[in-house]
Symmetry: C2
Subunit: 264 residues, 2 copies
């Protein structure tokens, strides 16, 4: 279905705008993503938006046409609107010419196959949506299977996380689980759990990594709880030459993830 929206007070505008807030995303089980590149990554990964919102000021592009066709074929809705209204929906002064509304994915542990990839990233109580999106992006780069979010993390479907993922929200698998659920699932099969840690750790370079390797980083300000580290198969540490005793969580995951990639 196609339609045009020209008024700011249209209830669909109000609804789309509400998806910027977690409470409304949870109710609707939908989230927003913007930009032709990101939506094309989604389409090519088999994720077609339920609603596609296009700016009347857009330029024609074959990838845009492909998206519109995919949405209509899936009986989704294509909405045309003004750049001003699109800016109101996305909350950006200079919005991209296109946004999509997607159904939230199933993020249960049962949806992943551990042997599908040699590396998985795991984050515990990660609070910053930018860090979360960056971890997804890094996961894509190192050929990880996905990101497992343990305990109370930032919402992976927030606009900030989706943006920072640069499309990896659609290409990486995403899991949300409690720590005990995750450990119980992990110990039900093969898998090495590796913590970036300062306690009782070996140097991260040349450590005996083994696939499937689950790379675990902790909360931005607290790090990992001691009991979680103790449950790991391997604790590794990166050199810290200066005054600080930790790295940014997404940076730690990336430095460690690339080391695992090189050694497997």
């Amino acid at each position: 279905m196609r339609r045009e929206i020209t008024g700011f007070s249209n209830p669909t505008v109000k609804y789309l705008r509400s998806l910027r807030e977690k409470k409304h995303r949870k109710q609707a089980r939908q989230f927003l993503a913007e930009g032709l590149r990101l939506l094309t990554d989604a389409r090519e990964s088999g994720r077609v938006p339920e609603t596609l919102v296009l700016s009347t000021a857009r330029d024609a592009h074959p990838l845009l046409t492909a998206l519109e066709e995919a949405v209509l074929a899936a009986r989704g809705e294509v909405i045309e609107t003004t750049p001003d209204i699109l800016a109101k929906i996305t909350g950006k002064d200079n919005p991209q010419a296109i946004a999509g509304v997607f159904a939230e994915f199933d993020t249960s542990l049962e949806t992943i196959e551990r042997d599908a990839a040699p590396i998985w990233l795991v984050a515990q109580a990660l609070r910053d949506p930018g860090n979360l999106g960056t971890m997804l992006r890094t996961g894509d780069a190192i050929g990880a299977g996905g990101l497992i979010l343990v305990d109370d993390c930032a919402d992976p479907f927030s606009v900030e996380a989706v943006r920072a993922s640069m499309g990896a929200i659609f290409t990486q698998r995403l899991v949300q689980a409690r720590w005990d659920e995750f450990v119980s699932w992990l110990r039900g099969g093969s898998g090495q759990l590796v913590a970036a840690s300062l306690r009782n750790a070996v140097p991260y370079r040349g450590a005996p990594y083994a696939a499937p390797c689950f790379v675990l980083v902790g909360n931005e300000s607290q790090g990992l709880p001691e009991a979680y580290e103790a449950a790991c198969d391997l604790r590794v540490t990166m050199p810290m030459k200066g005054r600080a005793d930790s790295l940014n969580a997404a940076v730690a995951a990336a430095v460690l993830g690339y080391e695992v990639l090189a050694s497997l």
Copy 2:
């Protein structure tokens, strides 16, 4: 000097609050930093705030006493105020119990000694203050000398950058320069310029890094201009196993920086 501020409309409150905006920071050549740990890093690195703002709700702490004494010894000002007013100044709902106003540093190339460290990080047109602060933090961790900001970057003295640096704004040297100034300075002595690049690049692992090694990353969305890459001594690339063709800028700097650290 010591004084107490109890009113929101006090002109000092207005002034301190204005330092959250770049325009006012530039006029005043001062910036804000918060938190006992960060301000202690500053003090131990020889940077004492010109003004120290303390919450009346603070707990006593020997490091706090040391800070107060250092500020008063340097003829600075110690201001006590309510948690509400401190929240207004820092723009955080739950502010730390302490904030400091620092004089901006001299960020000219002449202030650094290239042989003081084996690694220097260089960012070109880096727009995100969080990425900038994270690069400073990573620089501290890998024993870099500092961060050289080339072309039009985010303001390193913004509250976001200072926060993300976790204190490294005080321990790393900071330089701001135009590209031609930087290259001309670099070529006036020893120094290897290494770009994280996709063009004409060798694998980043095992590349022939040499100290002092200047690790260069480009703008978040554009990457490095081709001419800048061509001016580098070495172009290296990280594996990209997925759909994306780039990493977050701060992540790229960290993965490459740790590799350089391991190989020097």
